[in-house]
């Protein structure tokens, strides 16, 4: 292993060490609690404020997991809004929760989940999306086709992090 590989390994260790691992601070817990309360609020204005926070604030995978865990307990209209917000958040930690929403009764919720997969889905979701694009309702077909288009566009470029890991592997084998 040459020196650049060692340096690269050090960089990754430092970068991973610096990443926020979750809500370690008291303020984060309070913030998450407030957002959760707002998302479940019966007041539409307050709920929208909470959903905006889901989209833009409280970074970290633990926060995303907590938001996604709200989905089963919400009414269909709010489920649609939260799924859209989780899609905009773009953290694939929400993917299992969103995939579970593909099995619910309400068509609008299923369509929202299909839409969200465009941003948080992976290539593994391709077959399910293709199936819905072919056999779903009008709303589902449209959502699934849109997600398939975006997933395909995303697949054209390998993310830099993956390219870096591939390079690391090559360095290790030489």
């Amino acid at each position: 292993m040459n020196r650049s590989c060692v340096l690269a390994a050090c960089f990754w260790l430092m970068a991973l060490g610096g990443l926020p691992a979750g809500p370690a601070r008291a303020g984060d817990d309070e913030l998450l609690g407030m957002i959760v309360e707002l998302v479940g609020s019966p007041d539409a204005d307050m709920r929208l404020l909470g959903l905006q926070q889901v989209r833009e604030e409280a970074p970290g995978k633990a926060a995303t997991r907590r938001f996604a865990a709200l989905l089963p307990d919400l009414g269909p209209a709010v489920q649609v809004q939260l799924i859209d917000a989780l899609g905009d958040r773009g953290d694939d930690t929400a993917r299992p929760g969103v995939l579970a929403m593909l099995a619910v009764e309400t068509e609008a919720v299923r369509a929202a989940a299909l839409r969200a997969l465009a941003r948080i889905g992976t290539a593994d979701d391709g077959p399910a999306l293709a199936r819905m694009a072919a056999s779903g309702s009008d709303m589902e077909r449209e959502a699934a086709r849109g997600s398939l288009r975006r997933l395909r566009a995303r697949g054209r470029r390998t993310p830099w992090s993956k390219r870096w890991r591939m390079r690391m592997r090559r360095c290790g084998s030489s």
Binding site: L31, M34, D45, L49, E57, A58
Partner: protein
């Protein structure tokens, strides 16, 4: 080319460069003195609609005197003479605009004297609002009601003098003190919250919000529950601005107290939403 020739050429180039510097040095300082004098002469009778380019030497002198304190002082004195002299309103307006760039504490007394002037108060504040140093704020503060010292409380009510300005002029000064975030005005502004002129009370609330210190927050927080209905929107708005400033300055607990005050059911929905957003910002800042 011999080395001697190169040396001569280098020397010549150096002398030429120094000569050029010298020319600029002469041009610097007061700009073009005869043209400047003529411009000030023109300014005495200048009015809106007249040829503005005749005053350009004054602008050029401001640029040329940058970094030259003595020249700037001379220029400031000339501009002050216009402000205090028997000149047109347009001339005084022009001089005030230039004083905003070159004005120092020396200009404060002359500008403060314009504050009660209905036509020129605004231009005086235009200069004082941005002028660095305590003198400018003190001059504006002096026009507000003065709150008596603590020992006077022994005899009952605090002694509060009247404002020296009326109506819109007072509102203007209140706004300028807020824009300066002048913490020494808090006591006077707190008195003005209860002013019978709603415009003055609204302006006082707004300025306390802009000042945004814990003391200003306390004044607003104490006043908010007792504010009359017509003042409530302005007070709520001021509380939001104050809380934002507190949070930006690191006083999270004071900001939280104000946001909590605004989150109550008796506030309009948009204020409740804004306060909730503020509380989220406080939690995120922790």
């Amino acid at each position: 080319m011999t080395s001697k020739a190169i040396g001569i050429l280098t020397l010549a180039a150096g002398l030429a460069a120094l000569g050029g510097v010298n020319v600029f040095a002469e041009e610097g300082g007061a700009g073009d003195p005869p043209a400047l004098d003529k411009a000030f002469e023109t300014l005495q009778t200048y009015d809106w609609g007249a040829d503005r380019s005749l005053l350009n030497p004054i602008d050029e002198a401001i640029i040329a005197t940058h970094g030259d304190a003595a020249a700037r002082q001379a220029l400031e004195a000339k501009l002050l003479a216009v402000v205090t002299g028997e000149t047109t309103r347009a001339a005084k307006d022009f001089a005030c605009r230039k004083l905003r760039t070159v004005g120092t504490a020396d200009s404060v007394p002359a500008l403060a004297a314009l504050l009660p002037d209905e036509e020129l108060s605004h231009m005086a504040r235009f200069v004082l609002e941005r002028m660095p140093g305590e003198e400018a704020a003190a001059a504006m503060r002096k026009t507000l009601p003065q709150v008596g010292r603590r020992f006077l409380w022994v005899f009952g009510k605090r002694r509060v003098t009247q404002s020296t300005l009326d109506g819109d002029l007072e509102i203007g000064v209140i706004g300028s003190l807020g824009a300066r975030r002048d913490a020494k005005s808090i006591a006077s502004l707190t008195v003005l919250l209860a002013d019978e002129d709603a415009g003055v009370a609204c302006a006082a609330a707004g300025s306390l919000g802009l000042i945004g210190t814990p003391a200003a927050a306390k004044a607003l927080g104490d006043f908010a529950p007792t504010a009359i209905e017509s003042l409530k929107p302005a007070v709520a708005d001021a509380c939001l601005v104050c809380a934002e400033n507190l949070l930006a300055d690191g006083h999270a607990s004071d900001a939280r107290a104000l946001y909590e005050l605004l989150k109550t059911e008796d506030q309009p929905k948009h204020i409740q939403v804004a306060a909730t957003k503020g509380l989220l910002a406080v939690a995120a800042r922790k």
